[in-house]
Amino acid sequence: MMLQSAPSVSSEALLDVDNLVVEYPVGAKIVHAVSGVSLQIARGETLGLVGESGCGKSTLGRAVLQLRRPTAGRVLFDGQDLTAMQGDALRLMRRRVQLIFQDPIASLNPRRKIGDIVAEPLVIAGVKDPEKRKQLVHEVLTAVGLDPTLVVGRLPHEFSGGQCQRICIARALILNPEFIVCDEPVSALDVSIRAQILNLLEEMKGRFGLTLLFIAHDLAVVKAVSDRVAVMYLGRLCEVGPSEQLFARPAHPYTALLIEAIPVPDPDVRPTETVPVGEPPSPIAPPSGCRFRTRCPRADQRCSDEMPELRAVAPGQFVACHHPLI
């Protein structure tokens, strides 16, 4: 089991996820959304989590924050086990962790004014002085690049997607959290706006000393902001490694496939047309052994018999594959 965990670059892990399992029933069947994932995120680090829809990356993000209680495993945040916490203790802990969602418009209450939306975490946290709240709201809205005087009295529908995401980021930042899970924060945004929001997240990370779990399906986006990247397939981690190293020399065939599938904005790079046909199997009945074996060009008998554990292939780079590319 020791080999399964991938240590972070620094020894001081703010978040330590240990053998996390999330399963939930659908009718009489069980969806194996997350099956034994271990990872660490160092203080001040951004860990990118990539994978296709249905691979369990969002479920993992939610289970880390205890928004969905894991079936098994531990989540240590700053040394405290979140899975063992209940009620008030968990609520207090939640002030230190926040979540930013994919659809910024849907995650804002359409009937409430922006000022109230951004102040709500303060109200819940017990900041009773309205003047103090107002001052903090103004500060955080300014920080995310909005003009508070023009914004606080208006409703979400008056804003574009990019502006709504700025408001969501302001709301996530107002309690001065240490750790934010960003779940596909830019995938609903246009290219020109996406760059603005990515730059803003980077800026806020530096300014507020944040640690980020950045979940996305777009590898180029993940690479742009992450120190390390974890690749997930059907509930399990395939590969973890420093961003540049992982993109330059992917060890897992699935990582290589994801990189190859990205359309390159250069007409001289002809599309390969070698992306294997097929789709991920259902997480209700995942394949035995290596879960990627049904789509993997290198799969053999061993891959169906034996589940590969994460093991080091290069400094800081870990792969769960019997036949790695490096």
Binding site: E52, S53, S160, G162, D190, V191, S192, I193, R194, A195, Q196, L198, N199, E202, H217, D218, L219, A220, V221, K223, A224, V225, S226, D227, S243, E244, F247, L257, L258, I259, E260, A261, I262, P263, V264, P265, D266, P267, D268, V269, R270, P271, E273, V275, V277, E279
Partner: protein, 331 residues
């Protein structure tokens, strides 16, 4: 190389009345697509690319006002009676939309939807139509096609649904296929498969295609010509290799630069385009991109630059201050 012109869009304007005033969704657009050729239309949400494709298909909202000319295969679609138009759509003019869940009928089986299309346009008998349906599903890479005929859209994954939508679109051997963000709702590995599938079927059928997308990466390797749209207008238009080799319009350059690059180091700040597109109900007097453009001068705010040819007639752009040398956005 250009061959015969299959589709020509001439001076097309689409106006949509809104409570806030008239919204000019498409503003004097001229485009052509040759037989068997592929045109990419690139732009961000709200730039008018979907409305333009709807104008071609004559599927605009009822209240929309359309002017100009849309010539397809020798016929002016704006003059065509509804009955003839209906026969044309689905037959020689097919479309694949972004979201296969909403373009397929959720209460009809895959088989019913395919067979219906085949019988409507080709007047096949039941047995032949069913046989053709199975062949089509197999051609678009759907495993166990015979069993799939009895399934409903919700029983298939997003990628499989899009394959079905493509099978329906291809069923009557169209001359032109319009693919409106065909892979935006799909995962990256599925996207690659669907784009490969479209390219393969296009070659096989010698069909013309318009790919509408917000992703310059999608058009780069898969189109003959690209038109970049901004605020309802085509702002740059060129053969694909020429465009990527030498972008002239600052918006196109900025759009490419704003994409995260796989070969850039992590935490490299992205050259974002500041601000956002103008309110389409409040058209600007000058160039629509001028408020966000770093090259803009006073003239750009007062006068609209026409879409004009540069050194070669094939490369057009609407800018008073085109980029002279290729800015190394890729380096």
């Amino acid at each position: 190389m250009t061959g015969n012109t299959l589709l020509s869009v001439e001076d097309v304007i689409v106006d949509l009345p809104t409570p806030r005033g008239n919204l000019r969704a498409v503003d004097r657009v001229d485009l052509t697509v040759g037989t068997g050729r592929t045109l990419g239309i690139v732009g961000e949400s709200g730039c008018g690319k979907t409305m333009l494709s709807r104008a071609v298909l004559q599927l605009l909202p009822k209240k929309a006002k359309l002017s100009g000319r849309v010539m397809f295969d020798g016929q002016d679609l704006l003059q065509l009676p509804p009955e003839k138009l209906r026969k044309l759509r689905g037959r020689s003019l097919a479309v694949v939309f972004q979201d296969p869940m909403t373009s397929l009928n959720p209460v009809l089986t895959i088989g019913t939807q395919l067979i219906e299309t085949l019988q409507e346009h080709l007047e096949l008998d039941d047995a032949t139509a069913k046989k053709r349906s199975v062949e089509l599903l197999a051609a678009v890479g759907i495993p166990a096609p015979e069993q799939r005929l009895a399934q409903y859209p919700h029983q298939l994954s997003g990628g499989m649904r899009q394959r079905v939508a493509i099978a329906i679109a291809l069923s009557c051997e169209p001359k032109l296929l319009i693919a409106d963000e065909p892979t935006t709702a799909l995962d990256v590995t599925i996207q690659a498969q669907i784009l490969d599938l479209l390219a393969r079927e296009q070659r096989r059928r010698h069909m013309a295609m318009i790919i509408i997308t917000h992703d310059l990466g999608v058009v780069a390797g898969r189109t003959d010509e690209v038109a970049v749209m901004y605020a309802g207008r085509v702002v740059e238009r060129a053969p694909t290799p020429a465009l990527f080799k030498r972008m002239r319009m600052p918006y196109t350059e900025a759009l490419l630069a704003a994409l995260p690059k796989l070969d850039a180091a992590p935490h490299t700040p992205l050259p974002a385009i500041s601000g956002r597109p103008p309110d389409p109900t409040r058209p600007l007097q000058g160039c629509s991109f001028s408020p966000r453009c770093r090259y803009a001068v006073a003239r750009c705010q007062s006068e609209k630059p026409p879409l004009e040819a540069a050194e070669t007639s094939a490369h057009q752009f609407a800018c008073f201050h085109p980029i002279e040398t290729h800015a190394d956005a890729n380096a």
